[in-house]
Amino acid sequence: MMDGFDWTQLLDFALMAMLLAVGIAIVRLRNLFAAVMLMGVYSLLSAAWFVTLDAVDVAFTEAAVGAGISTVLMLGAMLLTAREAEPVKAGRHWAALVVVLATGAALFYAIGDMPAYGDPNSPANAYVGLDYLIRTPQEIAVPNVVTAVLASYRGFDTLGETVVIFAAGLGVMLLLGLGGRKPRRDTEEEDEA
């Protein structure tokens, strides 16, 4: 099996090691500015890892949303608070560690039930997934099967997702407004003072 060794695995390991290092750095950092930036780095590394797993569409979204827009939104949120995190009591650290270790142990225990990477008989590839791969060239004639599933076979789901995004935006707009009247509010405050 040695000649069939998949060298891209080394890339996976390197990326995962970097993810781990960045994750630990985020937890240990006090400076919120640096923590926000490292979270962007974490998203970008995840995106790179998704690419090595051939999940290019997911990687695309992670890079644009996770590394791009969330970082900016976190920056905007951080500017409204302090620049440094308050130190946390030691007792809370231990409680968090116990929760993380228990979850991690459960996940490692479940690894045995996972199908091998790229297994054609895994549930995700076998039933409906196989059907989509076979039928898309004849029924939709679109080279990118992800797009065919997303927009055509599951058009209802995507319509629902669009409505969810709309509803999320509507909620933010109702709660916070669009910030368009900010200067006027400032002058009112000055008048009162």
Partner: protein, 147 residues
């Protein structure tokens, strides 16, 4: 003169390219990774980059909040409208095949996918900007010493 001269020049060069890339991701979504969602986020991030470098007020002038508010609803309307159009043309909701008589090449599917993805793009672009405006309108600008 103005601070961050390098950032200003580079971002001014980059922003049009980012927008064009966003539209490429949308219109090429049939053939390569990406689609309306990713395209919407990419185009929104171009405007956000503009806001970060030139100030939120400049971005508000370029893409007014009214456009954002209308766009968020318009995208859902485009998506739902494609479904209603297929209903009127005598097929099931969101069955794109009736949109074009050329059944051999499934042109109707191509048109339908592009149109609904355009709806997704409009909504995602507008909502991302709406959230950004809502946050950026409250946060003070980043002070000079923290760049």
């Amino acid at each position: 003169m103005s601070p961050h001269l390098v950032l200003r020049v580079v971002s001014k060069l980059l922003i049009p390219i980012i927008v064009v890339f966003g539209f490429y991701v949308h219109f090429h979504g049939d053939y390569s990774p990406g689609g309306g969602f990713q395209a919407g986020v990419i185009i929104a991030s171009a405007v956000i980059l503009y806001a970060l470098i030139f100030g939120v007020e400049a971005a508000r002038n370029a893409v007014p909040p009214l456009v954002v508010r209308i766009g968020a609803a318009l995208g859902v309307l485009i998506y739902g409208g494609v479904g209603v159009a297929t209903l009127i043309m005598g097929e099931n909701y969101l069955d794109y095949d009736v949109l074009h008589p050329d059944q051999a090449h499934h042109t109707g599917q191509h048109i339908g996918i592009l149109l609904v993805e355009l709806g997704v793009l409009t909504t995602v672009f507008s909502v991302m900007l709406a959230i950004f405006y809502a946050f950026a309108g409250r946060a003070p600008d980043i002070p000079e010493e923290e760049w």
